[in-house]
Symmetry: C2
Amino acid sequence: MATLIDGKELAKSIREKLKQEIIDLAQKYPGFRPHLAIIQVGLREDSTVYVKQKERAANEIGIEITLHKKDSTISQNELLNAVNELNNNPSVHGLLVQLPLPEHIDEKVITEAVDPNKDVDGFHVYNIGNLAKRHNTPTFLPCTPKGIIEMLKFIGVEIAGRRAVVVGRSDIVGFPMFMLLTRADATVTLCHSKTQDLPEILKTADILVVAIGKPEFIKGEWIKPGAVVIDVGTNAIEDNSRVSGVRWVGDVDFVSASNVASYITPVPGGVGPMTVAMLLDNTVQSAKKFWSID
Amino acid sequence: MATLIDGKELAKSIREKLKQEIIDLAQKYPGFRPHLAIIQVGLREDSTVYVKQKERAANEIGIEITLHKKDSTISQNELLNAVNELNNNPSVHGLLVQLPLPEHIDEKVITEAVDPNKDVDGFHVYNIGNLAKRHNTPTFLPCTPKGIIEMLKFIGVEIAGRRAVVVGRSDIVGFPMFMLLTRADATVTLCHSKTQDLPEILKTADILVVAIGKPEFIKGEWIKPGAVVIDVGTNAIEDNSRVSGVRWVGDVDFVSASNVASYITPVPGGVGPMTVAMLLDNTVQSAKKFWSID
């Protein structure tokens, strides 16, 4: 049976370290307080849940968080103005615009409008370009893949020279995950919706990261015995035995995968909490940079 | 026996098309003339050869080319000034700084100083970031991988759904090649110096691109029968039977690979001429953009 990678517990210990770091720095540098600004457009229920998680976690560790709620009818230009205002506010160290945005707004334009030096989500083309260029250093790494690397370090798995497979080629997870594993000297195959013979390719993976949004799609029999399995998916499926009527599952069929993997992340409680912890970490690092603290 | 992919011939036909396009556009838009500026620092013999190739090819098709030679003792600031001057010169549509630069100059700083809208090499972090973000469109694609995609289109090989292996993870070839093949819906594995079991991985490749600078390193018996083999390497090896004392070979052992591949690029006369043709293409496309020609 695979060992669970407890993302909740690991994220908690990271948050505690960050909390102490903020306390220590505030003593040494009076007035030091990392500040994360979030713009939320509209009232999407899932966005509200995610924003609340970030708010709670930030507050808990002493990061100032300001939430800027905008009506879903806001024009692109008005939203750009709101972004620019926070870009220009020297007390703000991290700025993110909660995605997705309403259809009349071009997400690309808004994402690129965020000051790359406050882009704690790590989505700006400038940060992604610096991630893609091997000898450059991005100011921020996208939170989910950054959190996954932390998990791999935590369990002590060797990455260099190992085979890795990333399933899903999103800008937010799949692609930056590919880059981070390649930078760590793994040999990585990037799979996606057009990939043929996925099971055969998965069999080569010492490290498998799945981020496709398809409930329980990856079967245990496709996985190489002893592989480390990181499941980024969080999918609601109907479950009448629950009061809520749903339960959350990953992209990996947990039961069958647990029988072959050496390590596996649960859903929920695996990757999710790490993503939030890395957002906090990016915000603290950004504040230190603004304060010229090494 | 593999069919040769004649990059020299294909590049020639692309240059002829570009030449005609420039003639036609100059008739329609009096004064239209694409202009490529090259900065060369120092007197490296190989750089001089490459710059001459570009000069000759540009002149031949009606692109204006200006060569700005700088002493190898130029300071980084002086070089930055030279770059900025050409950035600000509205008659210049394409600007490249021939690499490598002398050791006292930070190549990263110089590469990022080039206006992304004139970056016909496609090396700027902004262009690489837009290449890495799946739904963005880079203003320019790096010339070598762009030329390789043209070759694959020319021979009519299907890319979508096929397995591809790229060996070498340079910013200039390996990484952007990985991205372009993934964008074309291939399933790509990126191999490098830390990859173990390279022969086993190569056996999965319907399309194999090698850019590692190791003479005749890849053996025919590692290659999947029927694969398309693209050899980016150009390595000089000693050959006393030649007047020059050297001959040029690729990263692939041509003789043994020809016996198993369906298509293969020769060295020289394969990828090299395509790279130069794509530089010209980028320059013409840039001039059209400056003239707001669709």
